[in-house]
Symmetry: C2
Subunit: 209 residues, 2 copies
Amino acid sequence: MALLLDNQFKELPPDKSVDTKLFLEAVSHLPPFFDCLGSTVFSVIKSDINGNITKIRAVYIKDPAKYVTLQDILEAEREAHGAAWPKVGATLALMWLKRGLRFIQILLQSLADGDRDENNPNLIRVNVTKAYEQALKRYHGWIVQKIFNAALVAAPYRSNFLKALSKGEDVNDEDCLANVRQFLVNYTATVDAIYEMYTNLNAELDYTV
Amino acid sequence: MALLLDNQFKELPPDKSVDTKLFLEAVSHLPPFFDCLGSTVFSVIKSDINGNITKIRAVYIKDPAKYVTLQDILEAEREAHGAAWPKVGATLALMWLKRGLRFIQILLQSLADGDRDENNPNLIRVNVTKAYEQALKRYHGWIVQKIFNAALVAAPYRSNFLKALSKGEDVNDEDCLANVRQFLVNYTATVDAIYEMYTNLNAELDYTV
Ligand SMILES: CCCCCCCCCCCCC/C=C/[C@@H](O)[C@H](CO[C@@H]1O[C@H](CO)[C@H](O)[C@H](OS(=O)(=O)O)[C@H]1O)NC(=O)CCCCCCCCCCC
Ligand SMILES: CCCCCCCCCCCCC/C=C/[C@@H](O)[C@H](CO[C@@H]1O[C@H](CO)[C@H](O)[C@H](OS(=O)(=O)O)[C@H]1O)NC(=O)CCCCCCCCCCC
């Protein structure tokens, strides 16, 4: 569980503001994970997510004192970009990043909950599909949806996926899933807080790609 | 035809060596072209090709006097990387880039030759498929091949594609295709020379992604 648990997301403060620095630190450990999945399909997704993170970090390091929380960034960009906002800058990057994070959250949650295709117990397609339907599908046009369906067969076997999550340690499935549940606590809270912020600031868009 | 003809590839010298600087200059005008095609599908391809170009340029600017021709780069990397070569550095980047260039070449040639699906005269799927089969398919595993088939429907209409090629000028199809043929002369010679170089240096690999 080295990969996941060594890089826990931090507990949120009572006001649920997300510290930019801590968030960037924690989230930057996720993309390398796609490498373990062993198909070229995932490198495309990895680089999309990496691009989001790079864009947010580029804004942050311009003035760390000004951008202490993610909300500080959104508010400054709303101020600076006028009508172009929110389809711009780190606001746009985080809008998409949070969907990828939600995808990962639902996928892990579904595994932790034991959702399973009884006829194919070693496949995670039901879990991946559930995550896709809830987090991403509505933002994808029909061509990208079709590409998702084609890519789905590249999803790793359940056993290999759990092994990848546990990289560096030899744990059984149940211990691994216990660790996943542990990881999900602060992770889910953080993703939820970002979604709430987008709703509150009216920063969410629903165009499709 | 602004896009294509304003950025002609240069005529090769008799020894068919490809000048690195001129090549990078000419090839850097191709990726923006994918933007005209209007689907998110193409931005993924654009960034793969852009990545190749960036990698080659990064090697070149380290020592322009040493890397006058593309062959200078391959030979220096063969020297430097031992057994890891040719799956490394600018050699790997150019290995893939040339396949994308070949894809574009065959696609344009097929249009210039008038290959056409008589039942769907305004589609370019036959041309795109021909280019894919000759330039890329054998380097793609079955999942990526399936994704290609899903992505194929995102290909622009013939009329829109020709319009995009002619960006900035109002030309009819035949004039546009005459310009394409003109463009293809040095372009094809350059791509051929790069393929020959890979064969001569035994630098070609045929693993699939
Ligand atoms: C030769 C063969 C040719 C075939 C070519 C086919 C190419 C196929 C392309 C398919 C799409 C790949 C996934 C990427 C999709 C991306 O298009 C979207 C939107 O991407 C956002 O777009 C914005 C502008 O609208 C900004 O540029 C954002 O960038 S910005 O930072 O600049 O603001 C950017 O992230 N991201 C997404 O949908 C997010 C995807 C997250 C994925 C989560 C995991 C899914 C796992 C699935 C497992 C099965
Ligand atoms: C949520 C939804 C999830 C779905 C996610 C789906 C993701 C789909 C991914 C499909 C693949 C997209 C195309 C990219 C393919 C690339 O994998 C390959 C190899 O790419 C090479 O790989 C090397 C290592 O082996 C190095 O990294 C090279 O990089 S290096 O510079 O670092 O050395 C790199 O270019 N390039 C290719 O096959 C080249 C492709 C050229 C394409 C030419 C035009 C085709 C037009 C088609 C029109 C219809």
